[in-house]
């Protein structure tokens, strides 16, 4: 950890849609960078208040859900080491219907305020859920208008980007982060999102069995065309490489 003190404070801004996106998709990476002293700001556009999983056995109703999921996310942020949490107060399942320009400007303002080296969001087409695609599209536009396209990376599910060719990308477009040393933090955050994970028995098995379910790597797609065409000998394994090289 001595390294941390010598480096300028690095910052990461993650702009996601629901409580648990940060944990389920890239919790290992967030825990890794937090442990290295990176200052992390997380946006959750919604409180996930329209979720379907209401505890198992059930203890939540639609009206109690927003406060419960907010509290779960706050705990998960503690487990992962995320310092700042911001809610956009958009109703779950309606992100694609809010004013796109206002949403983009709001994210652009935040980018200017936080001044992040790395911005994480969803790919606007590969995000899956409509809320994911909508927040990804707005964040991508915000990165563009703030001139931060080089800092932008798209999160991806599991190890799907081990084979990016199927999505029209190459290995050079992918950053593969080794999160092995941070899987305990990821598991703790999974358990913090109790109402969403209670249904998944493996999460609640003993730690060793549960940890074995996680992949060793998390994958990110470069958000910048320029970053992608750069000739690279080695596969990139660090989100901060591009921006840190640019700064030095």
């Amino acid at each position: 950890m001595n390294k941390t003190n010598k480096e300028p404070s690095r910052k990461l801004l993650a702009v996601f849609a629901h409580p648990d996106d940060e944990t389920f998709i890239c919790g290992g990476t967030l825990a890794k960078y937090a442990s290295e002293g990176v200052d992390i700001t997380l946006v959750s556009a919604t409180r996930g208040e329209m979720g379907r999983r209401m505890g198992n056995p059930v203890y939540i109703n639609r009206e109690t859900m927003p406060a419960i999921r907010e509290q779960e996310l706050r705990r998960a942020c503690d487990s992962l080491g995320i310092q700042q949490l911001i809610f956009f107060d958009i109703r779950d399942k309606t992100v694609e219907f809010v004013d796109e320009i206002q949403l983009t400007n709001r994210i652009a303002d935040l980018i200017n305020e936080v001044n992040p080296d790395v911005i994480l969001t969803f790919h606007e087409l590969l995000g899956g859920h409509p809320d994911h695609c909508a927040i990804g599209k707005a964040t991508t536009a915000a990165a563009e208008i703030t001139g931060r396209r080089e800092s932008l990376y798209f999160i991806s599910y599991g190890d799907t980007m081990e084979h990016p060719e199927g999505f029209g990308y190459t290995r050079q477009d992918v950053v593969k982060v080794d999160v092995f040393a941070h899987l305990e933090a990821k598991l703790a955050a999974f358990r913090d999102h109790r109402c969403q994970t209670e249904i998944d028995e493996w999460v609640w098995q003993n730690d060793q069995e549960a940890l074995a379910r996680f992949g060793r790597y998390e994958y990110f797609l470069k958000g910048s065309e320029a970053a992608r065409v750069q000739e690279q000998e080695q596969e990139q394994d660090d989100l901060f490489v591009a921006t840190c090289v640019a700064q030095h």
């Binding site: 379907r52 999983r53 209401m54 056995p57 109703n61 639609r62 009206e63 399942k93």
Partner: protein, 103 residues
């Protein structure tokens, strides 16, 4: 949330008859409607383990939902009905309140 006891829920529903009521209604995977305001003119419940609830409103309206299993009268005098599966996943919800639900 408690398992629905038909006569208790029936009595709770009757308390909204003749009133201006805000409704949240959803079939979780497909549709939700929040804060539509109607004047409830009749309210019904039917079923054994899984219940149907129907409301007549504004002289000409129907709202009917099925697969309801649980209910709660919450601290804001709202009647919350919901249908869950055996793993706690919500299938449907029907909430009635005399004040708007949070947006």
């Amino acid at each position: 949330m408690n398992l629905i006891i038909r006569n208790q829920v029936e009595a709770e529903l009757q308390a909204f008859v003749g009133e201006e009521v805000y409704i949240h209604s959803e079939a979780t995977s497909f549709v939700f409607v929040r804060n539509f305001k109607v004047k409830v003119t009749e309210a019904f419940i039917a079923g054994e383990d899984s219940f149907r609830v129907a409301l007549r409103f504004d002289e000409l309206g129907w709202l009917r939902m099925e697969a309801l299993t649980h209910y709660e009268k919450d601290g804001h005098a709202r009647l919350l009905l919901a249908g869950y599966d055996d793993k706690g996943r919500m299938n449907v919800a029907l909430h009635l309140g005399k004040e708007p639900f949070p947006e």
